[in-house]
Homo-oligomer: 346 residues x 2
Amino acid sequence: MSHPNGRRPATIEDVAREAGVSRAAVSKVLRNAYGVSEGMRTRVGAAIEHLNYRPRIAARAMRGSSFTLGIEIPDFANQFFTMVLAGATTALEGTDYQLIIAPAAGGPGREGYRAIEALADRQVDGVVAISPQVSTNWLERLAEHTPIVMLGRHDASEHYDTVVGDDSEGARLVMEHLLGLGHRRIAHLTRDEEVTAPGSGTPHSLRLETYIASMTESGNGGLVRVQRSGEGDVSAYESTLALLADDEPPTAIFAGHDELAMGALRAVAEVDPGISVAGYDNVRVASHPAVSLTSVDQAGVRMGERAIRLLLERIAGRSEPVHEVIEPSLVVRGSTRPPSAGPPGS
Amino acid sequence: MSHPNGRRPATIEDVAREAGVSRAAVSKVLRNAYGVSEGMRTRVGAAIEHLNYRPRIAARAMRGSSFTLGIEIPDFANQFFTMVLAGATTALEGTDYQLIIAPAAGGPGREGYRAIEALADRQVDGVVAISPQVSTNWLERLAEHTPIVMLGRHDASEHYDTVVGDDSEGARLVMEHLLGLGHRRIAHLTRDEEVTAPGSGTPHSLRLETYIASMTESGNGGLVRVQRSGEGDVSAYESTLALLADDEPPTAIFAGHDELAMGALRAVAEVDPGISVAGYDNVRVASHPAVSLTSVDQAGVRMGERAIRLLLERIAGRSEPVHEVIEPSLVVRGSTRPPSAGPPGS
DNA sequence: GGCACGCAATGAACCGTTTCATGCGGTTCG
DNA sequence: CGAACCGCATGAAACGGTTCATTGCGTGCC
């Protein structure tokens, strides 16, 4: 079935026979290992060319390494993740490694696990993952056998590396900006409970906690308003409509990430374009003049690059964990402005 | 190196010993093959659980199949491709197959080849690819050993399947719409020569050819204006600025795809917001009210789904090729309107 | 001229799984 | 009661690479 028509592809054995040498010799030429003469190299090279030979990575992986890195991604629709991918891809350019990407799927709860396991089962030499939800214990166990770099986790494991943005600081920048503009009635649009469980240390939980802290500290504790939303901008749109149906709707919305912010913008455009919206991630469309979304930049591309570099270091032998924090910055654009003159709160 | 700390993971051998049975028996239980007693199943199951055993796919792939499908994608920044990915992912939900994604990279010219080869080398059971540029001969050769479905190719191979939008029809819809609105000075913003070589049958070449034909047929042959752009909306932005610097700038721009259209919109917003812009792919942001881009919908998500289904059929044994054409439709939005009253052409 | 030495090349073992040809004990049928 | 049969389990041979210990051979040294 694997070769419906045509004969089966050449193996290292065939190459060896054609070149009149041993399998071991061919293997050495392939990996251009030490101790192979010039004549051998050219003869074997010719045979490889002639037979159109390509080594099976699966066979190679059984003893040596697979020269394959895996990266797990929650969702392709969210541009932040594709920025990370872009960074990872460029970081691998020129190396012998190939990147394979596993989308998280497999029913709620199991989301990240399935994909990461699928990668590990395929004998990748290392894994980069964006999974705030998987348990630390489980990761620790996995890390015993496979080098791992986690993105967006604030826990400091002994056995895997992390690359993470300073989510508290990022949220603080947003709140400072909005409060500075004069907003008091600021709502926070965020994801479901499972991603924002207090104390879980997920990015979204930290942003949420910082939001509440900022509101409280600025004396607006009574105006705290948290609106939940599912993933995706459509869900965010609907959630925002619900939010805006309040008796006293907010004058500004701090969205947990840009995907949500895009949905919020859509709703705001319909209901009251005067309402300010700020996001998080500084996704590419945020800079488009028609959108012009104020957002926190946490350098997704650079995060992807760093993650891959850390992973390669690990594979090369490093064993002390590295936990890298990327400092966010706020990019102010047109979607935020002082509150429009409205009636003061009751 | 593969297990820096901790002992090595359990193998099928360990499970067999623990359960007091043969390796072959365990293997059968794993694949729940025919001919294994209830007692055996439970005993082996317990051992697997106890040892936390997971089969190595690499080893499995050496004899049987890898239960892994590969998909090659040119660019993550272009949302059309991530829509295809989303479709492919959902089509695989519930099956035993895992999707691995290889981003095209590896220097100009080699782009698609490298990634597709990397997938084939990893013994995937089948490949979906979006590579207008790779040669038909090369694909035919590859298809002898690996089932393949190509997206966006208009050639009708005997050995691989294709899923493709009707690009001529899509472009015709756009031109009909723009001409119907009263535009005559319509420019076409497209990619570099290599992707649009006349007669190459790539989607972009067909859109370009249809554009020229429509202009000619409508008596506007003298107003044909083709502007090249690199990949990405930034490049499109710059190219559009150049286009708008013409003595007689166009009143409407037909962009080869939405990524280009987004760049064009950016430039248009700065120079003359009255200029109409239409795109192709109906990417998600196109529907955002702030963008509101008229675009051709070719159902990227469904394309991804169909491609995976065709691939699974092939793997299951089908040998006659299938070539599926997806009919496009035009989604009219705010970015196109009648030409603003301007001075008539000289 | 003999000996130790270093480089090239080799044969065989190994990696972890699937598959195939057999073995084995117990029923069913003639 | 023996033969054919059946369901379950097994040992051994693949699969296609890598790695390790060993051999063969030409050199330099004393």
